[in-house]
Symmetry: C2
Subunit: 238 residues, 2 copies
């Protein structure tokens, strides 16, 4: 029976995992008021401390096994691509997914990180929202289906976009021009979609159907780059 | 005979064209010291004012024809994909290429814009550099070959990246989640390559060769999106 007042008591957090997400979260919670936080290596699950919320921040494949060993009241994972029901604890389940790219040595500004939350009931959702608000600002209710879609979309705008940056860099290296010339354009392209939809922001030879420029560009590219150039050009034209 | 001291005299600029680049440049030069600037519609070439530097800022296809009608001393174009020799004036030629995306209603911060300059001789290059410094800060000598390569690279990091944003947006719309959840990730992806090379910054299921996640993602996509997902995933793995 949940008869405690969460506002009047400390919330205790247990983080399981020692990767980038686990460590960044641990450091953020340490600085928050009204929280106690413990971090536990996932290979060390013989004695599991009690906690109001247990956050499993491990690789996708390990979530089911690890969650099955935890008896704490509310157990959540942090994955973009694992459904809430894939948690195998017998108590309450939830998801605490931060849609951001976490690097080992780069500080995270949690006030800019979107927290995508899911829970089985209102009380648990509220508890996760309080937790998210203790370190962040942007909170969204996102169910497992929506989260899967967001995760795929994130692959396009993050992983694949970064690969296009790599191709740009390769072309610069090959032609002996500094890649930094492209930095302001990359920045502006990312900024533009805050005020225009990507559809409205589209420019370039593909949308203009400028065949001459497209032909000239293809001549400068290797096979793999040509394939990507052609496919995305076709996709833009459609 | 060029026996004037460019530091002691006003530089007169003529801009031919009335698109985004021409208009943004005109407004920037208006505010600069030691410059006079005139803008001329390219359909109105019967009486062409004299000028120290004539900047042809028109569509690629019109550059040759328009330049052939101009007798001023130094004539430059602003195109990323047209060679300097494609100018058909009989006097000195050059290129004044700004590698940035210009939108009609969005103010340009010229201090962040890379000016890629090319000329036939040192004096003309210096003159273009003085002009660029009057409104900007970042100046690079870039020859026609290098400029072509930069232009293709720009298509990847700007046009194609924006199309990946569009696919991300489409996936969000279809699954009823706000695209704004992805804005911080998009911003961070663009920021990251200022401190890491794109190769070092690469994350995601493709580089990890996470076949299960890749399979799950493909199931959520339409045919066109699947083609792009598969091709870029293969390219990242190579």
């Amino acid at each position: 029976m949940k008869n405690f007042n969460i506002f009047a008591h400390m919330i205790s957090i247990l983080i399981v995992g020692n990767g980038n997400v686990a460590t960044h979260l641990y450091n953020a919670f340490l600085k928050a008021d009204q929280l106690t936080v413990t971090q536990l290596n996932s290979r060390n699950l013989r004695e599991i401390p009690k906690a109001t919320i247990t956050i499993i921040a491990v690789s996708d494949d390990a979530i089911a096994t690890i969650s099955s060993k935890i008896n704490n009241s509310l157990v959540v994972h942090t994955s973009g691509s694992v459904a809430m029901e894939d948690l195998k604890n017998t108590s309450s389940k939830g998801v605490f997914y931060m849609l951001q790219t976490f690097s080992k040595n780069k500080k995270i500004d949690f006030s800019r990180v979107p927290f995508c939350l899911e829970a089985e009931n209102k009380e648990d959702y509220q508890l996760l929202a309080i937790l998210a608000k203790s370190i962040g600002k942007k909170i969204y209710p996102v169910n497992s289906e929506q989260r899967k879609a967001l995760h795929v979309a994130a692959v396009f705008v993050n992983n694949f976009t970064n690969h296009l940056y790599k191709i740009g860099n390769d072309i610069c290296i090959e032609n002996n021009v500094p890649f930094e010339i492209l930095h302001p354009l990359i920045y502006e392209t990312a900024q533009k979609i805050k005020t225009l939809s990507p559809e409205e922001a589209q420019t370039g030879p593909a949308i203009r159907n400028d065949k001459k420029t497209i032909k000239n560009h293809l001549e400068l590219l290797n096979d793999q780059q040509q394939k990507i150039y052609k496919l995305i050009t076709t996709s833009i034209k459609n």
